[in-house]
């Protein structure tokens, strides 16, 4: 009854699309008739490869997952499996009746009733009219649209549309079910029903071709996973390994993007800082010029040039400065950039902030449990002995995940004479999946901010499991008494 052999065999499958260039506008019938032959007019000006050299087999009864970034070739592969497109090169053999849930409700006519559309859709998907008439009550019940089934489809909500489409597609009773990201629509209850149906198909030994961006679902449902990137097989096999590879690639890509963004952000902030500093110094000089000469001398100590060559009496001068620091501070308006992301009097400035992984490489995407090092570069305007370095980790909605500083962690400041770097390592980043913002700060022990930089770095954490929450500790379960469990 059911055919034997693999359900789907792809051998060196390639598919390219015609890319119509500028000449397309002129490649019309007029020009074809007046000049070139028809075949020339139809020839593509350029070709884009959507799939190249993809080989795999899907055994009967297998649930086969396909993952990959947008434009990776997933949809093209599905259309080849469904027989909608023909391969440019290579071979694809599909053994059995395919029902594709590529776009549910494709072919519904808005003007006619849901019931009539079910009949038409069913016939389009390969049922005879008798079969569809017989299954009609079941389909309508499954869709849960009994009350609306005789209304024209144009009055349906998009969710209702999809439910009806799904109901028809699963009742076609295919040998191979092609599912493309359909569970993203419809409400929670219907999504569960869809998943149950898919699981039921699997139990009945049907082959399922499952495409989704929900990696958790893919991991849960699939026996094997194909990871496509730029039309090529990046990985194929065990779901855990393949998905791990995909996650790593995504994290690496995210990391590159975040690093670029981070660099841009810092450049902008450093530029504003230089501008502010300049106008601040000019402002102070202007203000001091009108008052006593002694004060002028003191202000000059602030200029970075003198700090380059610390003289023996520099420290004495510094002491004098310390004593008069307070009144000067009051004159200084808190320095803030346009986004109010940075403030402080800049007695010490943060000149850079980077995140490093365990190997010391700069990175902004981490796996949960990895080590993370925050490195901040600082530069004092003048030598000082009162400084505290701090970090704070926040979620994008401003929940503090962690905050600490050198004071809390038991370090006493001794001297900061010039450009310096402070690093703090968090050996295990036990955070849940998400984006986090890092604040870095230098302030006095009495918490007068020198430079407080809100969201200096943004980083991404990806965790493999489905556990909830910000905190992702290691877990160890133990059971005793009349209970038995087994590992999945």
């Amino acid at each position: 009854m059911t055919p034997s052999g693999p359900a789907v065999t792809a051998e060196r499958l390639s598919k390219s699309y015609r890319k119509w260039g500028r000449t397309r506008a002129f490649g019309t019938l007029k020009s074809a008739l007046l000049g070139r032959s028809l075949s020339t007019a139809l020839a593509p000006s350029e070709v884009v490869a959507a799939l190249s050299d993809v080989s795999f087999t899907v055994a009967r009864g297998e649930t086969f997952g396909v993952v990959g970034p947008n434009g990776g070739g997933k949809s093209t592969l599905l259309k080849l499996v469904a027989g909608l497109f023909k391969p440019t090169a290579g071979r694809i053999a599909v053994n059995g009746k395919v029902s594709a849930l590529i776009e549910l409700g494709a072919g519904f006519h808005p003007e006619i009733s849901g019931r009539e559309n079910v009949v038409i859709n069913g016939v389009m998907l390969g049922l005879t009219r008798k079969e569809i008439e017989r299954k009609l009550p079941e389909i309508i019940a499954f869709s849960g649209l009994e009350d609306f089934i005789d209304e024209p489809v144009k009055t349906y909500s998009s969710g209702m549309y999809v439910r009806l489409g799904f109901a028809v597609a699963v009742h076609v009773d295919p040998d191979i079910l092609v599912v493309d990201e359909v569970l993203a629509v419809g409400d929670e209850a219907f999504a569960h029903r869809c998943l149950d149906t898919i699981a039921e198909f699997s139990r009945r030994g049907k082959t399922i071709f499952f495409v989704s961006h929900s990696l958790v679902l893919v991991e849960e449902l699939c026996n094997r996973v194909l990871y496509l990137e730029a039309g090529r097989i990046r990985a194929l096999g065990d779901p855990k390994e393949t998905l791990a590879k995909y996650r790593m690639d995504v994290a690496a890509g995210e990391g590159t993007r975040l690093a670029t963004e981070h660099r841009k952000d810092q450049e902008i902030l450093l530029r504003t800082r230089k501008r502010e500093e300049k106008s601040f110094l000019e402002g102070v000089k202007g203000a001091e010029a009108s008052s006593a000469g002694a004060v002028l001398e003191r202000t000059e100590a602030h200029s970075p040039f003198e700090e380059e060559t610390p003289s023996p009496d520099a420290s004495r001068k510094q002491e004098t400065q310390q004593s008069v620091e307070q009144p000067l501070e009051q004159k200084i308006p808190p320095v803030t950039d346009e986004k109010a992301r940075r403030w402080g009097n800049r007695a010490v400035s943060i000149t850079g902030c980077r995140l490093l992984d365990a190997s010391g490489a700069e990175r902004y995407a981490f796996r949960s449990g990895e080590s993370l090092t925050v490195e901040m570069s600082v530069e004092p305007r003048a030598s000082l002995e009162d400084f505290v370095f701090g970090i704070g980790v926040f979620t994008p909605d401003e929940v503090c995940v962690h905050g600490s500083n050198t004071e809390i962690d038991g370090f006493l400041p001794v001297r900061l004479d010039g450009p310096a770097t402070a690093r703090v390592t968090l050996p295990r980043l036990d955070l849940g999946t998400g984006t986090y913002l890092l604040d870095v700060a230098v302030h006095s022990r009495r918490e007068t901010p020198y430079d407080y930089w809100r969201g200096a770095c943004r980083f991404q954490v990806d965790s493999p499991g489905r556990d909830a929450g910000l905190y992702r500790p290691e877990r160890r379960w133990e059971f005793s008494g009349a209970v038995s469990v087994s590992a999945r």
């Binding site: 015609r18 007019a41 139809l42 009539e116």
Partner: protein, 269 residues
């Protein structure tokens, strides 16, 4: 190609539901519904009857009463031109379907022709009523009425096959050249005047022009319609042979062309 043709027969159920859908959707929401299929030709007949009784008078006795003569050619022409217009647009308007569901694409232009065929069949009672009134002398000199009317059936089938072939060709072309749709409107009006719908070929006095017009593959069909409906004459077997040949050649050529470009539709629509 032959295998695909055989496959087409298996999809007749699909063609059936799509034609039904086309008709249902067209009249959904209108008060008179299917009556429009009847009413439209009736109104058309009324307009032409008035125009040719009051404004354009004084035509030869061979085509008198002219309103009935015109009507017997105009309905089959409407079938031809509407079918071609719909068929040409069929693949591009149902592009979403072609990209998502696997079914033989030729169903779409054929459904367009079939749906127009149904409209034609609905209009036949009006045509018959017109002929009866014509026979009673309501529009002027009375016309003969008789058994040659049954020739309407094979004429309709053969014209349908002829139109289907042309429709397949146009549908395939439209996918790659959207210009066809625009060009088609003009081409159809030129073709209308080059076809003996408003006149008979014997009206044409210049021998050369007549010879040229005889090359028009649609001409024998309209000679046939006039004979069957207006003159109540039997069409001779050789003419039937010619009609059948034109229909089959048109269909095979159109289908072959359509079949050759088949794989390009899901991507190009």
């Amino acid at each position: 190609m032959l295998k695909n043709l055989a496959g087409l027969w298996r999809h007749r159920a699909l063609a059936y539901v799509l034609v039904a859908r086309e008709l249902k959707a067209r009249y959904r929401g209108s008060v008179l519904g299917y009556f429009w299929s009847l009413l439209n030709p009736l109104l058309m007949l009324a307009v032409y009857a008035i125009v040719f009784a009051v404004i354009f008078t004084g035509r030869g006795p061979a085509t008198s009463p002219y309103a009935i003569f015109l009507f017997s050619g105009l309905l089959p022409w409407t079938f031809l031109s509407s079918s071609l217009t719909d068929a040409a647009a069929s693949l591009t308007t149902h592009g979403a379907l072609l990209r998502k569901i696997l079914f033989p694409a030729e169903v779409l232009p054929l459904v367009a022709v079939l749906a127009q065929g149904v409209h034609f069949v609905f209009a036949l009672p009006v045509l018959l009523a017109g002929l009866v009134l014509g026979a009673l002398g309501v529009f002027g000199p009375s016309i003969p009425l008789g058994w040659p009317l049954v020739q309407v059936v094979p004429l309709f089938v053969l014209e349908g096959v002829f139109v289907a072939g042309a429709g397949l060709l146009l549908a395939a072309l439209t996918v790659h050249f959207r210009d066809v749709k625009d060009l088609l409107a003009t081409a159809l009006s030129l073709w209308f005047f080059a076809t003996p719908v408003l006149y008979t070929l014997s009206d044409i006095k210049q021998e050369r022009v007549r010879a040229l017009l005889r090359l028009n593959p649609a001409a024998p069909f309209f000679d046939g319609w006039h004979d069957a409906l207006f003159y109540a004459r039997w069409i001779e077997p050789p003419r039937w042979g010619l009609l059948a040949a034109i229909a089959v050649v048109s269909f095979l050529l159109g289908y072959a062309f359509f079949d050759r470009l088949r794989d390009s539709y899901p991507e190009a629509v």
